[in-house]
Amino acid sequence: MNAGLEPELAVRCSDIAKAYGSTAAPVYALRGVSLEVRRGERVALLGKSGSGKSTLLNLLGGIDKPTRGSRQVAGRDLERLSGRELARFRSEAVGMIFQSFNLIPSRTALENVELPMIFAGRPVRQRRAEARYVLEAVGLAQRLHHRPAQLSGGEAQRVAFARALVNHPAILLADEPTGNLDSATAREIMEQLMEHVRARGTTLVLVTHDEDLARSCTDRVLRLKDGQLV
């Protein structure tokens, strides 16, 4: 599975391009991005709306495919993975946090957090205990059986955070995790996130357009403009 990636590298992207639309008139979101992230490194992707930040994050998370280029993430060459292997990669190797939380409305906080473990095939008792533990760790012990509609924005994001962490991924991909939160809640969430990342040495790729946040939380800031790193 390790496709020649140096042990100290968590991410290596080579000449990644992503185009949308027809082949006759493609619209490029990314134009030849090459990127390396070391294990445990915290990297921020800064850029304006439409610069390709989220597209790059989706490609790193294995939920999208590049039009061109190669990706090696957490020791796996994503271009060589089968659909089933890619699903396992998403479940076990990476954790994703989205700006809009992306929780399933019909499932409780506990059930949402359990979801990645269900797809990883973990036994019921183990995953229930794990989900409970992670939710308690993010301060949601009293909100286990609440549905997303019954949670505040901060609480919902913490559930999403717990869901991303629950399978102990090597890489955390956060797409504007505080974008929908007020500043106090955002600060609180980021503190929690960083505490976890530091404690576990998790690699973090944080997409944001908040320069202060990027500088304060990460080791390196990369800027994207018109689909290219500048």
């Binding site: 989706n58 499932r107 269900i118 797809f119 990883a120 036994p123 019921v124």
Partner: protein
């Protein structure tokens, strides 16, 4: 991913859309209900036909009748068409004459059921016994009294008759020179008291038959009101008048033409008095008429329900063929009892090769079975169509569900669900609808069968006079399995296309979906 988790996710999704799931499942319930009812009653009716037929020797019996007037080709040459006419018309007239000749055969049937033929029938392989159907119409004379009587032979398989003996005893051997008489016949003969009825047991009675040896000629009959039969004296008087008719013709007020016509007719077939033949037998016992219940259950043979006097089978057979002219004539009917049911077809074939008419109850049962099979197959097709329509509803509903759950599918994929997982969740949702709908349809079918069975059995009892002991609806394990499996199969197949659509959902697009 464990199957229990897929099941949990599918159940959870269905529970989220309770009303839609319920409506979708109702279609499956209805289809399964009709399918259950149709398969159940089909099996039940087939089993009932077979079971009821096996209660007696009916399925091993072959009814034999004299051979018909023969084949048209046998007598076509004997028919002459007179006159100058076109060939086409001559052919039509010839055909009509042949049919007329075949339909009217004053000499009796071409292939008669004579004693010799009964012997030949008994020699056919697998034939256990031959039961001739003996019917004699005559008078019973005891002392100074005489009474018209329908006299028949007993049916050895009629197990109800010995139980209906109210005085004296039943026959001891089939050759016994004895008779049992009906209490109703005794009453009509004037023996109204119990003591008189019992007193006749052990007495001799003379059975007297007036045998007409020809089927063409003159007949004089006396029909009396209320079904009262002609008395012996009336019969004797009419017979004498008949014989004197040619001599008395001039005394009647007839035209010359009419007289001439009758004279010609009498010359061709002179009126003749019937031959009188009699036999003396001992009254062994008195039997009562069957009760309504005995008649309903068909435990009694036709003979024992309609006879005034019953004779032991072989004695009656001997009497029939000893009567003047009977040796040349034919029995109307005989029954062959075959050793085993599977040999019935072979026996029927051999009897037909003797040019006798043969008919087995198995043929009737096969026809009945086929008829019910066709009816219930049509019902099964309707049920299957109902399930297929329900399946289209499921496919439509699930396609809408895929659309509504696009974001959910995207989230699941983002956190580790593979295409196979997503596809399986939707397929299991379809299968659950089939399983629940099929099971409920089956249970409703079973519940509906309780009043349905009562109604059907009442109808059979009322119209066919058969009291059924077992249910007309049966639920063998294969039926339960078939209904539920078919429902699950149909609904799962209905979910294939929506499941494939769900599996193809692009997570990036789905996560942007509102």
């Amino acid at each position: 991913m464990r199957f229990a988790d897929i099941l949990g996710l599918a159940l959870s999704a269905l529970w989220q859309q309770k009303a839609r799931t319920l409506l979708t499942t109702l279609g499956v319930i209805f289809g399964s209900l009709v399918l259950t009812a149709s398969l159940s009653i089909n099996s039940g009716v087939q089993e009932t036909i077979e079971r009821e037929s096996r209660r007696s020797t009916q399925l091993r019996r072959v009814q034999v009748r004299p051979g018909g007037g023969g084949h048209p080709s046998d007598i076509a040459d004997q028919v002459e068409v007179k006159g100058n006419m076109s060939d086409a018309r001559r052919e039509r007239i010839r055909n009509a004459l042949v049919r007329q000749k075949l339909n009217f055969n004053p000499g009796g049937p071409r292939i008669a059921l004579t004693r010799e033929r009964l012997r030949q029938l008994a020699e056919i392989a697998h034939v256990d016994s031959v039961i001739p159907s003996i019917y004699l119409n005559g008078f019973a004379v005891f002392g100074q009294r005489s009474q018209r009587a329908d006299i028949m032979a007993n049916d050895p398989d009629d197990d109800s008759l010995p139980g209906r003996i109210v005085a004296g005893r039943y026959f001891e051997t089939p050759h016994q020179s004895a008779a049992i008489v009906s209490e109703f016949w005794l009453y009509r003969a004037g023996m109204t008291d119990d003591a008189a009825m019992s007193a006749i047991v052990g007495k001799k009675i003379k059975l007297e038959f007036h045998v007409e040896r020809r089927l063409v000629g003159v007949g004089i009959f006396l029909y009396k009101p209320d079904g009262v039969g002609t008395t012996r004296d009336e019969f004797s008087a009419l017979d004498k008048i008949k014989k004197q008719l040619p001599e008395m013709l001039d005394r009647f007020a007839l035209t010359g033409v009419e007289k001439a016509a009758l004279k010609d007719a009498f010359r061709a077939t002179p009126p003749k008095a019937a031959d009188v033949f009699s036999e003396e037998v001992t009254v062994a016992g008195v039997f009562r008429m069957p009760s309504d219940k005995e008649q309903q259950g068909r435990r009694s043979s036709w003979e024992s329900m309609h006879s005034d006097i019953i004779l032991p089978l072989r004695m009656a057979e001997d009497l029939f063929f000893r009567a003047p002219g009977q040796g040349e004539r034919s029995l109307n009917h005989a029954t062959l009892v075959v050793d085993r049911e599977e040999n019935v077809k072979e026996v029927v074939k051999q009897v037909r090769e003797m040019e006798l008419d043969a008919y087995a109850a198995t043929e009737w049962i096969d026809r009945q079975r086929l008829m019910y099979l066709l009816i219930f197959s049509a019902m099964t097709i309707v049920a299957a169509v109902a399930l297929l329509v329900a399946a289209l509803g499921i496919a439509n509903t699930m396609l809408m569900s895929v659309l509504e759950r696009t974001r959910e599918v995207g989230i699941m994929k983002a956190v580790g669900a593979g295409n196979g997982h997503v596809q399986l969740i939707f397929l299991v949702e379809g299968a659950i609808i089939g399983l629940v709908g099929g099971t409920l349809g089956l249970l409703l079918g079973w519940a509906a069968s309780i009043p349905g069975d009562r109604w059907a059995r009442d109808m059979v009892q009322r119209d066919m006079r058969i009291e059924l002991k077992e249910s007309l609806f049966v639920f063998p394990p294969w039926l339960i399995l078939a209904v539920v499996s078919f429902a699950v199969l149909v609904t799962t197949l209905a979910a294939v296309y929506p499941a494939r659509r769900a599996a193809k959902v692009d997570p990036v697009t789905a996560l942007r979906h509102e």
